[in-house]
C-alpha cells in the first residue's frame, strides 16, 4: 500500500469532482500547449522560409504583402517591376546574391515561380530526382507538389493563370518536369520552379523575346563572321551589328556601350585579344571596356576575327536562352544544380523584362542599415526586409496569441482553484480519516505529503491529458493545414519550453493542494476524534 495508491483511492471517492478538476486542468494545459507549439513553429517556419533573404525588391505597395507574396507565397504580389530598375541594386557591391523571381501562374493551386536555380539554395532544397531545367518550359517541382499531384520527372502539366485554382489555362504551353526537390519543410516544398524565360514565354512577351533572342544570336553570328580586314568596313559592319543588337532586348546600357563601341576609331585599336577579353567580361563592364578599347590596336585583323567570333559565341552561350553550354553539363542524378554556372550569371539576365521581385542577400549585415533606405528613397522599387516585416507580422499575431495565452492561463488558474476547493472540501469530510492515519502511526509530514500528492495527482492527470490533447490537436491541425494551406505544423515535437510549462503546471497543483495539506498537517487528532462523526 503506497501513498500514491491511497491518494488515488481518495480521489476515487469523489469521481465526478475529480473528473471535472482533471478536465479543467486538461483544457487549460491543452490550450497553452497548442498556443506554444503553433506560435513557436509559426515563428520558426517564417524564419526558416526567410532564411537567406535579406531584402526583397518589388513593386510599390505594402511591404508586408510583398514579403508574404514572394518569401512565404501566402499572398498575391503587389505587381511587377522592371528588372532594369532593380539592376543597380542587384549589382551593388553590398549585395552578395540577387535572385529575380516572377509569379502569376499556378498548377492546381501550387505556385509556379520563374527564377534562377539559385532560388532553391535559399531553402537548402536539393534535387531528389532528375535534373534542373535547361530549357524554357521545363520545371522542377517541390516534394509536396509531387506528393499532391502525383507528377514526376518526365510528366507534363498545363499551367493556369493566377495563384489559385480555377484560373484560365495556358493552353499549348505545357511544362515538362525535369526534377523533383527533396522535402525541406519550407515553402519550397509547395512550389513549382522554372526559368524566368518560361514565365515570360507563357505570358506572351517571351514569344517576342524568343524572336529577339534568336535575332540576337543571329546578330552575333553575323558579328562573328564579319570581315575585320577592312577597317572601314569593319567599323561599318560592326556598327550595323551593334545597331541591330540595340534593337533587341538588350539593356540600354549595353546598347549604349555598343553604340560607343561603334563610334570609336578602330584604326587606332589593337582589336585582337584585348577585344576578346572585353567580350568575355560581363555587360556591366562595357563602359570600362570601351575606355580600354580606345587604346586597342586592330592591326591584326585575322586574329581579331577569330577572337571576336569566339567572344560572341561565349556571349551567346551566356545569354539566358542559349543553353547549349548549359546542356553540356551533367545534370544527371546528383543534387547539384546550376548555381554558379555562368549561364545564370545575373549579368546575362534580360533586363528589359519585368519580374515580380528580386530577392537580395547582403554581403555583410551592415548593408541592412543603409541599403533599404537608399532603395526606397529612389522610389522606382520598394525594398522590404523579411525580418522586419515578419517581426511586425508576428507582433500583430503575438497580440492575439498573448490574449489566448492569458485566457489559457486563466483556465489553469481556475483549475487550480477548483482543485483547491475540492481538496479543501474533501478534507472537511475526511478529517476523521486524517486523524485515523495519525493514530495508525502516520507523522504530520506524511499526512502533508499525502494531501499534496492528491493535488499533484489531479494536476498531473489533467496536465498529461492536456499535453496529449494539445499535441494531437496540433498534429491534426498540421495535417489539415498542410493539405489546405501548405503550412507545416507537427505535434510530434517536444519544445524545451514545454518542460518548463510542465513544471509550472505541477507547481500550480502543489500550490492548490498546499492549504488543504497544511490544514491536514495541523489536524488536532484528539479533538478531531472526539468531535468528528
Amino acid at each position: 500500500m503506497s501513498w500514491l495508491r491511497l491518494a488515488l483511492a481518495n480521489l476515487r471517492l469523489s469521481p465526478l469532482t475529480s473528473a471535472v478538476n482533471v478536465l479543467l486542468m486538461a483544457l487549460g494545459t491543452a490550450s497553452i500547449v497548442l498556443l506554444l507549439l503553433v506560435g513557436t513553429q509559426l515563428s520558426d517556419t517564417m524564419s526558416k522560409n526567410a532564411r537567406g533573404v535579406d531584402l526583397v525588391l518589388g513593386a510599390q505597395g505594402s511591404p508586408v504583402q510583398l514579403v508574404l507574396a514572394t518569401v512565404y507565397h501566402a499572398d498575391a504580389a503587389p505587381g511587377n517591376i522592371a528588372l532594369a530598375d532593380a539592376r543597380p541594386w542587384m549589382e551593388d557591391r553590398r549585395v552578395d546574391q540577387a535572385i529575380p523571381m516572377s509569379l502569376g501562374d499556378s498548377y492546381t493551386g501550387f505556385r509556379i515561380v520563374g527564377t534562377l536555380p539559385e532560388f532553391a539554395d535559399l531553402y537548402a532544397a536539393n534535387l531528389a530526382d532528375g535534373r534542373w531545367w535547361s530549357d524554357s518550359l521545363e520545371a522542377v517541382i517541390g516534394a509536396a507538389v509531387a506528393d499532391a499531384t502525383g507528377l514526376g520527372v518526365g510528366d507534363t502539366f498545363e499551367s493556369a493563370h493566377g495563384l489559385v485554382e480555377g484560373g484560365h489555362q495556358h493552353a499549348d504551353e505545357d511544362y515538362r518536369i525535369t526534377g523533383v526537390l527533396e522535402r525541406t519543410g519550407t515553402v519550397a516544398d509547395r512550389l513549382i520552379l522554372t526559368s524566368l524565360e518560361s514565365i515570360w514565354a507563357v505570358h506572351g512577351s517571351g514569344h517576342q523575346n524568343h524572336e529577339h533572342e534568336e535575332k540576337h544570336d543571329d546578330d552575333h553570328q553575323d558579328h562573328d563572321e564579319h570581315d575585320h580586314d577592312d577597317d572601314d568596313r569593319h567599323d561599318g559592319e560592326h556598327a550595323d551589328d551593334h545597331d541591330d543588337h540595340d534593337e533587341h532586348d538588350h539593356d540600354e546600357e549595353h546598347a549604349d556601350n555598343h553604340e560607343d563601341h561603334d563610334g570609336h576609331e578602330h584604326d587606332e585599336h589593337d582589336h585582337d585579344k584585348e577585344h576578346a577579353d572585353e567580350h568575355d567580361e560581363n555587360h556591366a563592364k562595357h563602359d570600362d571596356d570601351h575606355e580600354d578599347h580606345d587604346g586597342h590596336d586592330h592591326g591584326d585583323d585575322g586574329e581579331h576575327d577569330d577572337e571576336h567570333a569566339a567572344d560572341h559565341d561565349d556571349h551567346d552561350a551566356q545569354h539566358a536562352d542559349d543553353h547549349e553550354d548549359h546542356d553540356g553539363h551533367d545534370h544527371g542524378d546528383d543534387d547539384e544544380h546550376a548555381s554558379g554556372d555562368a549561364a545564370y550569371d545575373i549579368n546575362t539576365l534580360r533586363y528589359d523584362e519585368e519580374v515580380t521581385a528580386v530577392l537580395l542577400t547582403f554581403r555583410s549585415p551592415t548593408a541592412a542599415v543603409s541599403l533599404p533606405r537608399q532603395i526606397n528613397a529612389g522610389g522606382s522599387v520598394l525594398a522590404a526586409s523579411p525580418v522586419t516585416e515578419v517581426t511586425r507580422l508576428l507582433g500583430l499575431i503575438g497580440v492575439g496569441l498573448d490574449g489566448l495565452r492569458t485566457f489559457a492561463w486563466l483556465l489553469i488558474i481556475s483549475a487550480g482553484l477548483s482543485i483547491f476547493a475540492a481538496l479543501y472540501g474533501s478534507l472537511r469530510s475526511r478529517r476523521g480519516d486524517i486523524a485515523m492515519l495519525r493514530c495508525l502511526g502516520a507523522t504530520r509530514s506524511e499526512v502533508l505529503v499525502a494531501l499534496l500528492l492528491e493535488g499533484l495527482l489531479l494536476t498531473a492527470l489533467g496536465v498529461v491529458l492536456g499535453f496529449l490533447a494539445g499535441h494531437v490537436t496540433v498534429e491534426l491541425l498540421g495535417a489539415w493545414l498542410e493539405s489546405a494551406r501548405g503550412v507545416s505544423f507537427t505535434g510530434v515535437i517536444w519544445l524545451s519550453a514545454e518542460t518548463w510549462l510542465l513544471l509550472s503546471l505541477l507547481i500550480v497543483g502543489i500550490i492548490a493542494a498546499l492549504v488543504p495539506a497544511v490544514q491536514a498537517y495541523r489536524t488536532d487528532v484528539a479533538k478531531t476524534l472526539a468531535e468528528a462523526p
Partner: protein, 214 residues
C-alpha cells in the same frame, strides 16, 4: 514487562483537570476495562496513553518508554509500531478495501508484515469473505471486526479500544469483548478498553474505575 505505567497524571482544558490519576499500571498480556460515565475523561485518558495528547503534568511510560521524552514524530512512529487502536466509529478508510486498510496499517507501523499475516487475521476474525469489500459494503459487525484486525496487524504490544460496545446490544457487546480479548491475548498483547458500558465490568482481567477519580 509493564505495558503501561502512569504516575500523577493531570490533564484538562480548563483549570479543573478532567484526567487526574495518581497511578495506573497494566502488565503485558493483561487486560483492563477503564470504566466511567460520560464526560469523566475516558477518551482523554486513552488519548493521553496513546500519545495523541500531551499531559499537563505527570508521567506516562509505555513498554518502559517515557512518552514525554519523545518528539511528536518519534511519538507517531512509536504509536504506529507498538500500539493498536480501535475507535468507536471504527474509522476504516472509505476509499480502501478491508485488506488495503490492513495493509495501510502494516505500512504505517513500519514493521515487516508477511502476506500470510493478513490472511490469518481475516480468517481469525471471520472477515476473509469481505476482504476486498469497501467499508461502505460491510455490516456493522464486519466493520468492527475489520477495525480490530487492523489494530492487530503489526502484532502490537498494547491494544487500546475506545467504547467498542457502546452501540451494540448485549449479545453483540459480549461477542465483541470476547473477540477483542481473545484476539489480543492470543497475540500476547496488553488490552485497555475505556468505556462507559457497565456491561463490560468484570469481563476483562481487571476493572479500573475512572469515574471515581474524575
Amino acid at each position: 514487562m509493564t505495558a503501561i505505567t502512569v504516575e500523577q497524571l493531570r490533564f484538562g482544558y480548563t483549570d479543573k483537570p478532567i484526567v487526574d490519576i495518581e497511578t495506573f499500571r497494566l502488565e503485558q498480556g493483561q487486560s483492563v476495562a477503564a470504566i466511567g460515565p460520560s464526560g469523566c475523561g475516558k477518551t482523554s485518558f486513552l488519548h493521553l496513553l496513546a500519545g495523541l495528547l500531551r499531559p499537563d503534568s505527570g508521567e506516562i511510560a509505555l513498554l518502559g518508554q517515557s512518552l514525554a521524552a519523545l518528539s511528536d514524530t518519534e511519538l507517531d512512529r512509536f504509536r504506529g509500531g507498538n500500539l493498536g487502536i480501535v475507535l468507536q466509529q471504527f474509522r476504516l478508510l472509505r476509499g480502501l478495501s478491508v485488506i488495503d486498510n490492513l495493509r495501510l496499517a502494516g505500512k504505517l507501523s513500519r514493521c515487516t508484515i508477511a502476506p500470510e499475516r493478513y490472511q490469518h487475521l481475516l480468517k481469525r476474525l471471520d472477515i476473509a469473505a469481505v476482504a476486498d469489500h469497501k467499508p461502505s459494503e460491510l455490516s456493522q459487525g464486519q466493520a468492527q471486526r475489520a477495525a480490530i484486525a487492523r489494530a492487530l496487524v503489526h502484532k502490537p504490544s498494547i491494544v487500546m479500544a475506545d467504547e467498542p460496545t457502546s452501540a451494540l446490544d448485549d449479545r453483540n457487546a459480549q461477542e465483541v469483548i470476547e473477540l477483542l480479548n481473545s484476539a489480543v491475548t492470543d497475540e500476547g498483547a496488553a488490552l485497555l478498553v475505556v468505556t462507559h458500558d457497565q456491561r463490560i465490568r468484570g469481563t476483562l482481567d481487571t476493572d479500573f474505575d475512572l469515574g471515581a477519580i474524575a
